[in-house]
Chain length 148, copies 2
DNA sequence: GTACCTGCAAAACCTTTGCAGCATC
DNA sequence: GATGCTGCAAAGGTTTTGCAGGTAC
C-alpha cells in the first residue's frame, strides 16, 4: 500500500504530464483523493476539510471528468446512486468488496484466485483485463446474523 | 439455464407468496423480465412490446422497487447512468462481465475459479456470499484492437 | 368494502452545460 | 496575453412522491 504522500506525488506528476493547470482547487481535490482509501462521491468531497467552501460543485465535477479522462482517477459504480471516484494509482488494487446490507466497501486484495478467474474468463469469453475492475457483493462479517 | 416459462412461473409464484396483487401491469412486467436474459433498464422496459403504452413510468418504478424489496428482482449497477434490473431466479448466474468500451454485458458462468475466489475472500475477509453478485469489467473481443 | 395499485403531475435529485470573469502558464 | 479554469445559474435526465381514482382480493 502506497503512502498518501506517494499517491499525491504521483497524481501531481500525472497532471503535469497531461498539461493540466495546477490550480488551488485541483491541488485540494488531489490531496483529498490521495488520503481517501475508499472511493468517494461528490458530496463527500464537497464536505471535506480543505475543500468545503473553496470549490463549486460544477468545478468538482469538471475536475473529476478531466482526471478520469486522463486516467488519473477511476469512476467506480458501487451500486450507488452517486458516482464514486478513486485515485487510479498504478500497482494498487482497484477491486472492491461491497456489503449488500450496509454498503461498506472493503478492498479486495489481488489474489491468485482472482488471476485464475480472469484467466479462465479470457479463455472462455475472450475478454482481456488490462484495466480490469471487479466488484463483488456479499455480506460483511458485521451484517451476518449472529448464529450460534 | 431455465426456460422463460420457468422463470415466469417462479416470479408469479413469488409474488403470490409475498401477497402482491397480481395486476395486469405486473404480469406484463414479469413476462418481459422473464424473457430478458440480460439486465434491462426502465427505458427498455417502457418501450417493450407488451408494456409500451400500458404502464406509466412511475408504476414501472414502484413495481421494480417492490419486486426488489421482496427479492424477486435484483438491481444491477453496470456502471450505467440508469438502473438495470434482472430477475433474481435461484440457481441461475447473477454475475456479469461488462465491456469497459462498448458496455456489452455478457454472462459470467459459474466456474471453479470463482468458487475459489469466494472461498479465499471468505477466509481472509469474513464475507459470506449467499446472495453474491460479481461484476467484472474488462474489454470484450470486439473492442480489442486487432493485433497481428 | 378495504387495501393496495395506477396514472398524472410535479418535486427532488444528481449531473451537465453556458457564459462571463479570473488565474495559470 | 492566450488558454484554460472557476463560479454562478440554469437546463437536462433519472428517480421519487402526492393525490385522486380505480382494481384486485
Amino acid at each position: 500500500m502506497k503512502s498518501s504522500a506517494d499517491r499525491l506525488a504521483w497524481s501531481l506528476q500525472q497532471c503535469i504530464a497531461k498539461k493540466m493547470r495546477m490550480t488551488g482547487a485541483r491541488k485540494r481535490i488531489l490531496r483529498f483523493l490521495s488520503e481517501s482509501r475508499q472511493p468517494v462521491n461528490l458530496e463527500q468531497m464537497g464536505r471535506a476539510r480543505g475543500i468545503k467552501g473553496t470549490c463549486d460543485n460544477a468545478t468538482l465535477w469538471r475536475t473529476m471528468m478531466s482526471l478520469e479522462e486522463f486516467g488519473i482517477v477511476r469512476r467506480v459504480s458501487l451500486k450507488s446512486k452517486m458516482a464514486h471516484f478513486a485515485l487510479a494509482t498504478p500497482d494498487e488494487h482497484h477491486d472492491y468488496l461491497v456489503c449488500q446490507d450496509c454498503g461498506t466497501v472493503a478492498d479486495l486484495p489481488h489474489t491468485h484466485a482472482l488471476d485464475a478467474l480472469q484467466e479462465e474468463i479470457s479463455k472462455t469469453k475472450g475478454f482481456t483485463f488490462e484495466k480490469h475492475e471487479v466488484e463483488i457483493y456479499g455480506t460483511c462479517p458485521d451484517c451476518q446474523p449472529a448464529k450460534r
